[in-house]
């Protein structure tokens, strides 16, 4: 559905007398399959929005090219526009118009006739549960309602692909869950959905496949499961008193199932193992045998944050 080859973009920004060049996107190669929810995960400033804006024909790439829904980004941007929908990060509705007016106008900007545009607007309002507020000005909407209007705008012309830039940023947990359902519904309607996010749980729970982006580059790509499996093994966190820690470390070090052992500063151990579920009983037996009392034991499956940490040396939560 989407294929990009070496997509690049730099910005020149002026700070006082100096001009600085920011390489926002440095050669992105991607393949997105039809009918999947593809996620772009990365911290702020990673280059997600810039990539999306290039794919949506809003800015011209400095290098590379792309095919989107069968149309060539460089040679036929007008055709790309017809086949995609794009929902920008910062909103796209006008305070003084109503959701219905916005939807009809947007449909008509795609060349759809008036009567058809009105029908589509009514259908979209219904599908996104907005009918009740349809004729109220957008400025009176809640954040979640407004986001739904914006997504409805992005798909009013039934595109093959829709790009959603950070669709849940700034929403409360309930609206977020609601939005996830809406996005899954788009997929079951046969649309390919390309979202960006900086939320780990969102990428994990919602996306069929993700690409992790950092500093303008894709550092990893795959299904959430594949990516996590790549970071081999689980982590067992053993809570111990500070005094008991050295002795516990001594008795567990060298056990066959412990790949690596670290002590935690406040007391306790971190054990890297292949299979947490089978390691825990053995750890318990061993410590019991050594007569050591343990405060807690926790199994930690690798998260996408661990993937990010491994690939970039930083935690996504911190950046």
């Amino acid at each position: 559905m989407i294929e990009t080859r070496g997509l690049r973009k730099s910005f020149r920004s002026r700070a006082g007398r100096e001009t600085k060049t920011v390489d926002a996107v440095r050669g992105v190669n991607l393949e997105v399959a039809e009918g999947e929810i593809f996620g772009f995960l990365g911290p702020n400033g990673a280059g997600k929005t810039t990539t999306l804006r290039m794919l949506a024909t809003l800015i011209e790439p400095d290098g590379g090219d792309a095919t989107i829904a069968g149309a060539d980004l460089r040679k036929d941007p007008a055709e790309v526009r017809r086949r995609i929908g794009y929902v920008p990060q910062g909103g796209s509705t006008w305070d003084e118009s109503t959701a219905r007016e916005e939807l009809v106008l947007h449909a008509r900007m795609y060349g759809i006739g008036k009567a058809d545009a009105q029908r589509r607007a009514a259908r979209a309002l219904d599908a996104f549960q907005l009918t009740e507020y349809a004729d109220r000005k957008c400025k009176t909407y809640s954040g979640g309602q407004r986001r739904r209007v914006e997504i409805a705008l992005g798909i009013i012309h039934e595109p093959k692909i829709v790009f959603l830039d950070e669709p849940t940023t700034g929403l409360d947990p309930q609206s977020r869950a609601h939005m996830w359902d809406e996005i899954r519904r788009l997929r079951s309607d046969g649309m390919t959905v390309f979202i960006t996010t900086h939320y780990l749980d969102e990428a994990d729970a919602l996306c069929d496949r993700i690409a992790i982006m950092d500093n303008g580059e894709i550092v990893a790509e795959g299904t959430p499961g594949e990516l996590k499996r790549e970071i081999s093994g689980d982590v067992v966190l053993v809570g111990l008193d500070l005094a008991a820690t050295p002795q516990a470390a001594q008795s567990l070090d060298g056990e066959a199932y412990v790949n690596k052992l670290e002590t935690v500063d406040e007391g306790g151990l971190r054990l890297y193992v292949d299979e947490g579920a089978t390691a825990i009983p053995q750890v318990l037996r061993r410590l019991d045998h050594a007569g050591l009392e343990l405060r807690s034991i926790e199994l930690h499956r690798p998260s996408l944050d661990d993937v990010f940490l491994t690939k970039t040396g930083r935690s996504l939560r911190e950046s």
Binding site: I84, S92, E96
Partner: protein, 251 residues
């Protein structure tokens, strides 16, 4: 065909939003009306005009051109608000004509200017101004071209600078000298030679002269066709340049 349809779509939308808040049309007309009521009576002696009506024939055209210039130049502020709301970005991902995005907006501005011009003309009629309807319509065409040019330029600049803070001083620095050097409020007939020399390079001065000639019923005056031609060419250039800004990347 598609272009005409797209332009009409944007024009309709913008007009609808303006009518939802028509108070702006009247705020815009308030200042010129004040000039008309309070400033014009001083003109008869100042211009050495034989009658009040003769003074109005000189003053009203200037006032209308002034309205067209300023009304147009400050339209960019509305566009910056639209940029910030993401409305422009949303329009640019659709296949709608970029020229239509500009022209639909500028035509709304032209129409709102013409409404203001009619209000002022009607008021001036109460003060014994008399103009031939044919001349008046031609004068309105000239005003429409001025407003088309200034609003298009204002939109283009707004897309370039992207912030009110940069647009306001820019528009003021452009507007003030243009205003003073065009003889809009008072004709430059009595100005020293060097000032008239500068004014000859000011396209608005030609537009004002043309409008004055029309109000004076002097349809055959060279000033009329010269004013119309210069303004039409500049309006076309302004529209072309601003439409290119719509097509280029905008954040």
């Amino acid at each position: 065909m598609k272009f005409a349809r797209d332009t009409w779509l944007i024009f309709q939308r913008q007009t609808q939003l303006l009518l939802r808040n028509p108070v702006w049309v009247f705020v815009g007309v308030f200042q010129p009306v004040m000039y008309l009521l309070l400033f014009a009576p001083l003109l008869k002696p100042a211009l050495n005009a034989p009658t009040q009506a003769a003074a109005y024939k000189i003053f009203v055209p200037g006032l209308l051109v002034l309205l067209a210039i300023f009304g147009g130049l400050f339209q960019g502020f509305g566009l910056i608000a639209e940029l910030r709301a993401g409305v422009i970005e949303r329009s640019r991902v659709t296949p709608i004509s970029r020229l239509a995005l500009l022209l639909g907006r500028s035509l709304r501005d032209v129409v709102s200017l013409l409404v203001q011009a009619v209000i002022i003309t009607l008021l001036a009629l109460l003060f014994d101004l008399r103009v031939f309807i044919g001349d008046l319509l031609l004068a309105y065409l000239l005003l429409a071209l001025i407003a088309l040019m200034t609003s298009a330029v204002s939109y283009g600049v707004a897309l370039k600078v992207k912030s009110e803070d940069a647009l306001a001083p820019l528009m003021n620095t452009v507007a003030q000298p243009v205003l003073l050097l065009s003889g809009i409020l008072l004709p430059l007939t009595f100005a020293p030679g060097w000032l008239q020399g500068i004014a000859n390079w000011n396209p608005f001065s030609w537009a004002v002269d043309g409008t004055r000639a029309l109000f004076a019923g002097d349809l055959g005056s060279d000033r009329v066709w010269q004013g119309l031609t210069i303004t039409a060419v500049l309006a076309a250039l302004g529209v072309y340049w601003a439409a290119r800004q719509f097509a280029r990347s905008v954040r």
